[in-house]
C-alpha cells in the first residue's frame, strides 16, 4: 500500500483561517490534523478587569456570524453570577433574536458554503449559475433573519441593543409585526430549500458519537437547559468545568475539548436534533420526517438537512413569538453588583457556547472562560477524518481532498471564534 498525504493549505468556505493535513496509509488514515492557525484572539484575558456589563458588547466581537450567541451566553453567565433572572417578554425577545441568528447563519452555510460540496461545484458563484432560483431564495431567507437581528439588535452585525438584564430598548409591537410578511414568505422558501437539499446524494458514513446539547423541559433549546448527551451526560451547566476539560494541542491555536474519562464529543445541529426532535414545532417535525431524518441519525453529512429543519423551526418560532408579543413594562431588569461566579451554555448555530465569569463585589471580571463550539468540535472533526480512511482510499487524491474538506464543512466551523487562547511559555536562557 502507498502512503498518500492530503494537504489543504487554506480551507475555503469556512469562517476564519485553517488548514488540514491528512496522511493515508492504504485505507487507513494514520494522521489527521485540523490546523487552526488563525492568530489567538485573547478575549478571555481582554475581559479581565472590565465591568461585567461590558461582556456582551466585547465578546460579540469574537464573531461577525454569531455575535448573538456571544451576547446570549455572556448575559446569562453574568446574570447567573449576579443572581438575576430574565423572564416574560424579555426572555421571548432573546429567543427571537437567537432565531434571527440561526436563520441567517444556517442558510448561509447550507446554500452558499456547503451545497457546492454535494453538487461538485468549486464555489457559490458556480452554484448560482446552475441554481439561481435556489440562491435567490436563500438570500431572501437570510434577509428575513437579518431583519430580525437588525430590528431587535439595532443593526445586522454585532447588534448593540442587548445588555445584561435585557435590552436597552424593547421594540414596539408594530416594529416586530412589520417583519411577519417576509418571515412567512421565508418559511415557504425554507420548505422548498429543504426539499431541494434532500435531493442531494449523502455519503454513507456514521460514527458512534457522543452528541452533546442543551435539553429544556418544553422548548427546542437555545438559551437554557441542562447539558445532556447521547451517552448519559446529564448535568447542570454550572458543572461544565467538572465534566469537560479543554487542552492545548501543538497544531492549533484553538483549545480542544473532551468529556472527562471518555474523550471527544460533538455539539451542533445534529446533537440538538437527536436529543430534542420531540421539541420541534409541528411544521419542523413534519419537515424532518419528509426528508427522512429521525433521532437515530449519526451521519454528519446529513447535518445539512438538520440545518434546514432548524431553519424552518426558527422561522416558526420567530413568527410565534412576534404574534404573541406584548411589549414589557421595562426593557431590562435591575442589576445589583455582587461577587460571584456565573456560568451559562447557549446553543450557537454551530453548537454549545460556554461562558464563565468570576466577578468581584463591584462586578469587575476577575477571570473569564469562553469555550466556543468549534474548539469543542475540533477533535471530533479530526476523528471523523481518521474514520474516513476506507471512503477516501477509493478516491483520487483530488476527490479525496474534496471529500475531506466536505467533511470538515459538515460542522460549519467558525475558526475565528475558536482561536482565543494562547499559553505563553518563557524559558530562561542558560537555565539547564
Amino acid at each position: 500500500m502507498t502512503t498518500r498525504t492530503i494537504e489543504v493549505a487554506v480551507l475555503a468556505r469556512v469562517e476564519g483561517e485553517g488548514a488540514l493535513t491528512l496522511v493515508l496509509d492504504g485505507a487507513t488514515v494514520v494522521d489527521a490534523k485540523l490546523k487552526l492557525f488563525e492568530p489567538p484572539r485573547l478575549f478571555e484575558a481582554l475581559m479581565r478587569g472590565r465591568a461585567c456589563t461590558e461582556a456582551p458588547d466585547i465578546t460579540a466581537r469574537i464573531c461577525g456570524i454569531c455575535p448573538v450567541a456571544y451576547e446570549m451566553s455572556s448575559c446569562h453567565a453574568v446574570e447567573d453570577a449576579l443572581g438575576v433572572s430574565v423572564g416574560g417578554a424579555l426572555r421571548e425577545l432573546r429567543r427571537l433574536l437567537y432565531c434571527g441568528e440561526w436563520i441567517e447563519s444556517h442558510v448561509l452555510h447550507m446554500v452558499m458554503l456547503h451545497a457546492p460540496d454535494f453538487l461538485g461545484f468549486p464555489d457559490a458563484m458556480t452554484l448560482a449559475k446552475h441554481h439561481p432560483e435556489r440562491v435567490r431564495g436563500s438570500l431572501r431567507i437570510k434577509k428575513a433573519g437579518n431583519a430580525i437581528v437588525a430590528t431587535l439588535g439595532g443593526r445586522e452585525i454585532h447588534p448593540v441593543n442587548v445588555k445584561v438584564g435585557g435590552f436597552y430598548r424593547a421594540p414596539r409591537r408594530a416594529e416586530l409585526a412589520a417583519l411577519l410578511p417576509d418571515l412567512r414568505a421565508a418559511r415557504a422558501e425554507a420548505e422548498e430549500t429543504l426539499a431541494w437539499l434532500a435531493t442531494f446524494e449523502f455519503p454513507t458514513f456514521e460514527r458512534d458519537y457522543e452528541l452533546v446539547s442543551l435539553r429544556h423541559p418544553t422548548e427546542y433549546p437555545m438559551n437554557e437547559g441542562r447539558l445532556v448527551s447521547t451517552k448519559g451526560l446529564d448535568i447542570d451547566v454550572h458543572d461544565f468545568g467538572a465534566h469537560i476539560h479543554e487542552h492545548q494541542v501543538a497544531h492549533s491555536t484553538a483549545l480542544q475539548a473532551q468529556i472527562v474519562g471518555r474523550g471527544s464529543y460533538q455539539s451542533g445541529p445534529l446533537a440538538r436534533f437527536v436529543q430534542n426532535a420531540d421539541r420541534l414545532s409541528p411544521g419542523a417535525a413534519a419537515a424532518a420526517a419528509r426528508v427522512g431524518l429521525d433521532p437515530s441519525c449519526r451521519n454528519p453529512f446529513r447535518m445539512l438537512l438538520v440545518r434546514g429543519v432548524e431553519t424552518i423551526y426558527a422561522l416558526d418560532e420567530a413568527i410565534r413569538i412576534i404574534e404573541a408579543y406584548a411589549p414589557p413594562a421595562e426593557s431590562c431588569v435591575p442589576l445589583v453588583m455582587r461577587a460571584g461566579t456565573g456560568h451559562a451554555v447557549t446553543e450557537a448555530p454551530r453548537g454549545i457556547l460556554y461562558h464563565r465569569y468570576v466577578l468581584d463585589e463591584a462586578g469587575i471580571v476577575q477571570d473569564a472562560q469562553i469555550a466556543p463550539p468549534t474548539s469543542q468540535n475540533q477533535r471530533g472533526i479530526e476523528e471523523d477524518l481518521l474514520a474516513m480512511g476506507p471512503m477516501l482510499a477509493s478516491l483520487s487524491l483530488e476527490a479525496a481532498t474534496r471529500r475531506a474538506e466536505h467533511a470538515i464543512r459538515n460542522y460549519d466551523p467558525c475558526i475565528s471564534c475558536s482561536t482565543h487562547f494562547l499559553t505563553l511559555r518563557f524559558e530562561q536562557l542558560g537555565t539547564p
Binding site: G64, A124, M125, V135, I157
Partner: protein, 160 residues
C-alpha cells in the same frame, strides 16, 4: 408610449450610497467615513464590512453608489470613479472579511441580470494596503479625501 411616461422613464431615482470597510483597519474604513458624512446630510446610506449588502439592494432594483478603499490605485487619498466592468482587471477594492465587491457584483449579475449591475457606480479612495495590526482612524492623506469622495458620491447619487 405617451410623452408623460417617456419623461418618467428618463428620470432616475436617488441612489443609496453604500460605504464598505472596516473601522479597525485604518484607512480601509474610508468608505464608512464617507457614508457617515453623507448620512449626516440626509443622503440614504448603508454601511457594511463586506459587499453582501449590495445583493438585497440590487434585487430590489435600487441604484447604488458604492464607496470603498482601493489599494494600488495611486497616491493615498486619490479619489477615483471606477467602472464596474473594470473591477476584475483593475485595482481590487479591499474587503478583509466576507464577500468582496467583485464577487457580489458577479453574483448579482448571475442572479438578478446584467441590468441590476448597470445601476451601480463606484467611488474608490486610494489607500496603501493596511498592515496586520489593527488601527482606528484615517491617515491625514486619506482623511483629506473624505470630503471630495463624499461630494463625488453625492453628485452620482442625486436624482436626475
Amino acid at each position: 408610449m405617451t410623452a408623460e411616461t417617456g419623461v418618467t422613464a428618463e428620470t432616475t431615482e436617488a441612489a443609496v450610497v453604500v460605504g464598505i470597510g472596516q473601522l479597525a483597519a485604518g484607512d480601509d474604513g474610508v468608505g464608512l467615513a464617507v457614508a457617515r458624512v453623507l448620512a449626516a446630510r440626509g443622503v440614504e446610506t448603508r454601511e457594511s464590512a463586506d459587499a453582501s449588502v449590495l445583493l438585497s439592494l440590487l434585487e430590489a432594483g435600487r441604484r447604488v453608489v458604492l464607496v470603498d478603499a482601493v489599494a494600488g490605485a495611486g497616491a493615498p487619498g486619490s479619489v477615483l470613479q471606477l467602472d464596474v466592468g473594470a473591477l476584475a482587471s483593475g485595482p481590487t477594492p479591499l474587503s478583509s472579511h466576507g464577500i468582496g465587491v467583485a464577487e457580489a457584483l458577479e453574483l448579482a449579475r448571475t442572479l438578478y441580470g446584467a441590468q441590476s449591475v448597470a445601476r451601480v457606480e463606484i467611488v474608490g479612495v486610494a489607500i496603501t494596503r493596511p498592515g496586520g495590526a489593527s488601527s482606528f482612524g484615517l491617515s491625514p492623506a486619506v482623511a483629506a479625501a473624505v470630503e471630495p469622495a463624499a461630494a463625488l458620491a453625492a453628485s452620482l447619487a442625486e436624482e436626475r
